[in-house]
């Protein structure tokens, strides 16, 4: 088990390095110059060149990458061009917000999706099932941008029971978390239903009923555990992606998260921020995948990691 963990962690480091290099190279092929974008309209050529030099952008690509790697080894992710703050500080200021939103959204999505999916799986083709699947289709197809704005209009403008945007209190979390949660619930509901249907037709389920067990026991103790693996995989992937920040929801609700910050950095070509944020996302995603894989071992005793 320990060997497996060490292997995975080394692999994560390798992935992180790969992402850094890839991001670094790719960024410089995209047209756009932060010096031009930040300096004012009437900036002279000499001034723009001076700004580029100040930010280390005049050095050859390889030198820039070497500097970036050396700083990285010292735990320094560089300094934001737009704000002059250390990138690490900028990320730390926003990552918790993104995590809170991701957790809240996933929680809402998992609880409602799992519940709806289990019920549907147990009563396939019933009215409840058809209704749930129809709603799930709706949830998957609804663009979060539109849905978020609709929720905002209803709860913040028309009924004035919730704040329209920003962060700071639990009330601020409700609308963005629900907007995220509905989409997630839809995906998880469908996945759960499919998994449950698959498991419920297995011979050991028939045996369980034959033993005289109650439906709730059969479902919760026998069927669900076996159905969980694909559901956990999907949840893990969704959560990992959300940790990258749901840009659309963060933008619509003015949620101070990492996703929105990364997109803004891309628009202003704030290279240090883009590199740093992509590195963090990559590491976080790899880490979440590791947790998901380890969870398999907990749920399914047949899976062992050497």
């Amino acid at each position: 088990m320990l060997g497996y963990l060490v292997n995975r962690l080394l692999f994560t480091v390798f992935v992180a390095l790969g992402i850094s290099f890839f991001a670094f190279v790719l960024l410089h092929f995209i047209p756009g110059d932060p010096a031009q974008l930040l300096a004012d309209q009437w900036a002279t050529k000499e001034h723009i060149e001076a700004l580029r030099k100040q930010w280390g952008l005049d050095k050859p690509l390889f030198t820039q990458f070497a500097i970036f790697m050396m700083n990285l080894c010292r735990g320094n992710l560089g300094t934001s061009i737009a704000s002059g703050r250390p990138v690490a500080q900028e990320i730390v200021a926003r990552l918790p917000n993104t995590m809170i939103l991701a957790l809240a959204g996933t929680l809402i999505g998992v609880v409602s999706g799992l519940g709806a999916g289990i019920l549907s799986g147990c009563r396939p083709y019933s009215l409840q099932d058809e209704l749930t699947m129809f709603l799930a289709l709706f949830g998957v197809s609804l663009p979060p941008f539109w849905f978020g704005l609709m929720l905002m209009w209803l709860f913040a403008v028309k009924w004035r029971v919730l704040p329209s945007s920003g962060a700071g209190t639990l009330a601020h979390l409700v609308l963005p978390a629900f907007t995220l949660g509905i989409g997630i619930a839809a995906v998880i509901a469908r996945q759960t239903r499919a998994s449950m249907l698959d498991v419920l037709r297995q011979p050991y389920i028939v045996t369980a009923y034959a033993k005289g067990l109650k439906e709730s026991v059969v479902v919760c103790q026998h069927a669900l555990r076996n159905a969980l693996i694909p559901i956990i995989t999907v949840t893990g992937l969704i959560f990992g992606r959300l940790l990258g920040g749901s840009v659309v929801v963060e933008t619509v609700f003015g949620w101070p998260g990492l996703g929105r910050f990364l997109v803004e950095a891309i628009f202003t070509r704030d290279y240090p921020v883009i590199r740093g944020a992509l590195l963090i996302f990559g590491l976080t995603f790899a880490f979440v995948n590791l947790i998901v894989d380890l969870t398999y071992g907990v749920i399914d005793p047949r899976i062992k990691y050497a």
Binding site: G32, D33, D40, G84
Partner: protein, 521 residues
Amino acid sequence: MSWLKIVVTLCLTASLGLGALGEAPRYGGTLIIGLGTDIPIFDAVYCSGIPNLGIIHLVSQGLTVINPTGGEPKVLPGLAVAWEQSSDDPRVWIFHLRQGVKFHDGTPFNAEAVKFNIERMIDPATGALARSSFAMIQAVEVVDEYTVKIITDVPFAALPAQLAYAPLAMDSPTQVQKLGNKNYYTDPKGTGPFKFVHHIRGQEVLLVANEEYWDGRPYLDAIRVKPIPDTASRLMALEAGDIHVAYHVPPRDAKRYIEHPELGITVLTPPPQRRMFIGLNVQWGPFKDVRVRQALNYAVDKEAIVENIFMGLTKPMDSPLPPTSLCYVPAKYYEYNPGEAKRLLAEAGYPDGFEVTLYYGPGRYLLDTEVVEAVQAYLAQVGIKVKVVPLEWAAFQAKLRKSLEETDVQMFFIGWGLPTLDPELGIGPFSKNAWPPGLNSMFYFNPEVEELIVQQRAATDPSQRCQIVRKIQELVMEDAPFIALYYEPQIHAVRNEVRDLVISVTEQIDELRIRYTWLEK
């Protein structure tokens, strides 16, 4: 004049009248402003974006301030109360400073402070983003405690207006030296009506009233600035009452607010200063011929664009300067005349038109896609097939700033703001030394205009200067290095409980009037 313009004018007059009805301002309340972006850094020297700088100016003020109405005099006293150009040496401007003013940390505001701040801006070691806009300043001399001499490299008529340009703000020298250039943003100390409290990244900036402000304690207790990037969200926040002020409201929503007073929102329309035009690369193919360029101007119906897309809230562009600028004259208006356009094209050798590519960066300017599509349609009518290529803003900028040898730009849609309302920055870019990487992506060059630009810069007599600038405007409009379209309207919205809020022609909240802004309840 469209009905919308009439209603807006009536509303503005009514609200001014109501204000004058003697409702007494009350102290208290927190004004909440919704901005489109988070302020990148709370230091004017390193911050970009006029709305952001406008917030910073509530804390750190300017020596001079542009008249928010865009009327005369263009430049108003700020922390400098009077100024004159030396008669012996026109390179020297003498500024007389406001007395009895202190920075928020108690440091006195005086000539030494002015010298410190200007030197901080122009010193290359500082790395100020707007350094080259103040590069004409060679030296600053302290004459006495409240008198300062600013010496420019060549005589510079526009200096008082240039000092009002937002990136220059007076900060406490003590505090800058204490925290260092790069960290000053963490705890700025200015002379303004509001003091900086905190900046929670991505969430809010909090300012509180300066009890010892030189013009009296502001009515407001505090100001909160929240970034709400999405326009629809920002408007909903305004309608929900979560914010009091929203910038850059689309005309359709402005119309809704005016038609539905029960929503409790007032529309503000400060005068325009941004010139919106389709730049033409005058070194490329058909555009080398002035007749072709003029033809394009006759081919587009600007009145229709102004009436139908902008609901009559602005006027067509008839000068390279905006109507609010010093020395503006309505130099030449190309009325809609497709017949004349076709005739000119034929005369120039393009009876069947030609193909051309138009680049633009959608989302930057109000209703830009609608305007570009309208222009495309008008040009098609005279045989010009326009291929519209939208680009992400940074990519678009990169394209525009390519040199003549590298560029593939033929036409582009752009807006040029004029925050100083002065010809120096307004027509200065129509010269060869502004060729890319400068602003002049039209690669326009007229030796006569070039010479006149130099002359107007040094002119010491204002009326003589305006005569020179008049000639420049006429020449440029005649040369038509662009399709002159319109001046971008400024439309902002505030909740009715906000009283006496003035948004300037510069798009900033007026830093001198904010002290008088108050909240009804």
